[in-house]
C-alpha cells in the first residue's frame, strides 16, 4: 500500500495531532488535521450518509404492503429515521468543508459508494424483519464502535443514531419472532428471508482485515477502533444466539462453536459475490441508482422553485428596507 502523503504536512502539527489521538482526545471541526484524515472522514461519512438514503428504497418497497396498521406505522417511522440519519451525517460532513450537494451529485453520478447490502432485493414481508434484525443489527455493532471515533461530530452523530438503530433492530427481530411462531407460510417466509440475507449481512463489515485497504490508516487515527473481522465476529456471536431463540437456522453447514474462544466460526464468505456487488453487478445496483436519479430529476423543478421564491423574497425585503 502507498504510504499516506503526510510527509508534506507540518511535521510538528502532525505529531501533536497524533499525540491527541493517542490521548483519546476528540478532534473538532476547527482543529488542525492532516488532509488525509479529512479525506478519509469525508469518504467514510458520505458513504454512510448515502447508505442511509439508498437504504430507504428496499424498505420503502414494503410500506404500501405492510400487513397491519401498526407495522405500517413502525416501518414508515423507521424509514423516516434513516432519512434523518442521512441528513444528519451529510450535515456532519459539511463540518469538514465539503458541500452536501457535491456529495449527492457524486452518488447520482455513480462515483460514490454506499453499503452493498442495499443492492439486494426485498422480496417478502419477512425481508423487512430480516433487514431490521440483521442489517440494523450489523450496523449497530459497527456504529457502537464509531461512536468512539476520534472525530467529534461523527462520534456524537453515532451516539444518537445508535439509539434509533436499536429500536429498528428490535422491531425487525420482533417481526421475525412473530413470523417464526406464526403459520407455516409465515415461518417459511421468515426462514427464506434469513437464507437470503445472512451472507450479505456478514459482508457488511467489509473484506477480511488483510484485504481492507483503508483499515490501517483508519485505525491509526482512531476513526475505527476495531477491525472488520473483530466486528464481524462480534455480530456473528450475537446473532447466532438470537436466531436460535426464535427457532430459525442460519444457512451455513460449516457453522461451528469454538469452545476455546467462545466464538461461532462461520464457513467461508463468498468474496467473489461481495466484489461483484461492490463493482455494480448486484441484483439491484442499477435500480437503486436509477431510483435516486429519477427522484432527483423529477424534483429539479421543485428545488428551482424554492430557490426562485427565496430570491424573490430576499429582494422584496431589500426593496422594502
Amino acid at each position: 500500500m502507498t504510504p499516506p502523503p503526510v510527509v508534506a504536512e507540518d511535521s510538528m502539527r502532525l505529531a501533536e495531532f497524533e499525540a491527541r489521538i493517542a490521548r483519546d482526545e476528540s478532534i473538532e471541526p476547527k482543529d488542525w488535521m492532516p488532509e488525509r484524515y479529512r479525506k478519509q472522514l469525508v469518504r467514510m461519512m458520505s458513504q454512510h450518509a448515502h447508505s442511509e438514503v439508498v437504504g430507504m428504497l428496499p424498505e420503502g418497497n414494503w410500506i404500501t404492503r405492510a400487513p397491519s396498521l401498526r407495522r405500517k406505522m413502525i416501518l414508515i417511522a423507521k424509514v423516516q429515521d434513516e432519512g434523518g440519519h442521512g441528513l444528519y451525517i451529510y450535515c456532519g460532513t459539511e463540518t469538514l468543508g465539503v458541500d452536501r450537494h457535491d456529495l449527492v451529485q457524486d452518488l447520482l453520478d455513480g462515483k460514490a459508494k454506499y453499503s452493498s447490502i442495499f443492492n439486494y432485493p426485498t422480496l417478502s414481508w419477512a425481508d423487512i424483519g430480516t433487514i431490521g434484525w440483521l442489517v440494523d443489527g450489523a450496523a449497530i455493532v459497527n456504529q457502537t464502535m464509531l461512536a468512539k471515533a476520534s472525530y467529534g461530530p461523527y462520534a456524537r452523530a453515532m451516539v444518537r443514531i445508535c439509539k434509533e438503530e436499536n429500536f429498528h433492530k428490535r422491531q425487525g427481530y420482533e417481526i421475525m419472532a412473530t413470523l417464526s411462531g406464526g403459520t407455516g407460510a409465515q415461518r417459511a417466509m421468515a426462514q427464506d428471508a434469513l437464507n437470503r440475507w445472512w451472507w450479505p449481512s456478514l459482508m457488511m463489515f467489509g473484506p477480511h482485515d488483510a484485504d481492507s485497504p483503508n483499515s490501517d490508516e483508519l485505525m491509526r487515527w482512531g476513526i475505527k477502533r476495531k477491525s472488520n473481522d473483530e466486528l464481524r465476529q462480534r455480530y456473528v456471536n450475537l446473532t447466532i444466539a438470537q436466531a436460535k431463540a426464535i427457532d430459525l437456522t442460519v444457512p451455513d453447514p460449516d457453522l461451528r462453536y469454538d469452545e476455546a474462544s467462545g466464538d461461532w466460526i462461520t464457513g467461508p464468505i463468498d468474496w467473489d459475490e461481495f466484489w461483484r456487488v461492490v463493482k455494480g453487478n448486484g441484483p439491484c445496483n442499477k435500480e437503486r441508482l436509477a431510483a435516486r436519479q429519477k427522484a432527483h430529476a423529477d424534483g429539479a423543478w421543485v428545488r428551482e422553485a424554492a430557490m426562485a421564491y427565496a430570491d424573490k423574497k430576499a429582494s422584496r425585503t431589500t426593496e422594502a428596507a
Partner: protein, 251 residues
C-alpha cells in the same frame, strides 16, 4: 352496543386519513429533496396514526368484532367511505402538495369541530389530531406559496394541480343525510358549516401564491357512499395483498 350511524361517520373520518396517508407514504424515498422525504413520511405517519385511532374506535362502536386491521385490510373499495380527493394518484410534487393543502385546511376545521364533540373518545382523538393537521397545513401552505410564486414552470404546475383537484373539494362539505341524528346530538360536526371558512382560508393562500381560485363548477362525489374512482381498487389491492394472502395470521 352497536351504533351503526356512528360507525359510518367514523369510517368517513378514518378512511380519509388512511387512504391519504397511504398515498403520502408512496413518496417515501422519492421526494425532491431529503428534507421533503422526511416531511412527507412524517405526514403519512400522522395520518395513518389518526386513522388507526378512529378505525379502532369505529370497530368498537360497530360491535361486530372487527378491529382496525380488519377494517383497513379486509374491506373492499365499495365499503370504504373516504372522499375521492384522498384516493387520487399522487401526481407530481405539485399535485401532492396542493392536495395536502386543500385537504389539510378541511382537516383542521373538521378536527377542531370534532374536538368539541359530546363523544369523549372522538373529542380526544380530534384534540390530538388537530395539532398534527395544523402542521400539515403550514407545511403544505408554505410550499403552495413557493411553487405558485416560484418559477414559471412551478406556477403552471401548481395552477394545473389546483384546477385538477378543485372538482374533488366539494364532496368534503356535503353533509351526509344519515349523520343528522349524530350532528343533532353534538357527536359529529356538520361539515357543510365549514365550507365558507375553508373557502376564505384557501383563497387567501392561493392569492399569496399568485394562483387563481377556480370558478365554482361541477363537483365530483360518491366516496362517502362507497362509489369511488378507479384508483381506489388498485390502492387497496396493493395495501391488502399480504394481509389477505394470510387470513387469520398475526403480524
Amino acid at each position: 352496543m352497536a351504533d351503526l350511524a356512528l360507525f359510518g361517520a367514523l369510517a368517513r373520518i378514518g378512511d380519509d386519513r388512511l387512504v391519504l396517508g397511504h398515498r403520502t407514504s408512496e413518496w417515501c424515498g422519492h421526494g425532491p429533496i431529503l428534507e421533503e422525504d422526511i416531511a412527507l413520511s412524517n405526514i403519512a405517519l400522522d395520518l395513518i396514526g389518526q386513522a388507526n385511532h378512529v378505525l379502532t374506535y369505529a370497530g368498537a362502536t360497530e360491535g361486530a368484532g372487527r378491529d382496525q386491521d380488519a377494517l383497513a385490510y379486509f374491506r373492499d373499495a365499495a365499503d370504504y367511505r373516504n372522499a375521492l380527493l384522498c384516493e387520487l394518484p399522487n401526481g407530481d410534487f405539485g399535485v401532492t402538495i396542493v392536495r395536502h393543502f386543500l385537504y389539510g385546511v378541511f382537516s383542521v376545521l373538521q378536527w377542531d369541530a370534532l374536538s368539541k364533540s359530546t363523544d369523549e373518545t372522538l373529542a380526544g382523538i380530534a384534540a390530538k389530531s388537530v395539532k398534527e393537521a395544523r402542521y400539515h397545513v403550514r407545511h403544505a401552505g408554505e410550499w403552495v406559496i413557493r411553487l405558485g410564486d416560484g418559477t414559471a414552470e412551478s406556477h403552471r404546475r401548481a395552477q394545473d394541480a389546483v384546477d385538477a383537484l378543485w372538482a374533488y373539494t366539494g364532496e368534503l362539505f356535503v353533509q351526509p343525510a344519515d349523520e343528522s341524528a349524530l350532528v343533532a346530538a353534538g357527536i359529529t360536526a356538520d361539515v357543510s358549516l365549514l365550507h365558507a371558512t375553508w373557502q376564505s382560508q384557501v383563497a387567501s393562500v392561493l392569492h399569496r401564491a399568485t394562483l387563481t381560485v377556480p370558478a365554482s363548477g361541477w363537483m365530483q362525489g360518491g366516496g362517502r357512499t362507497g362509489l369511488h374512482t378507479e384508483h381506489l381498487g388498485h390502492l387497496l389491492a396493493e395495501m391488502q395483498i399480504v394481509a389477505r394472502s394470510h387470513p387469520g395470521a398475526k403480524w
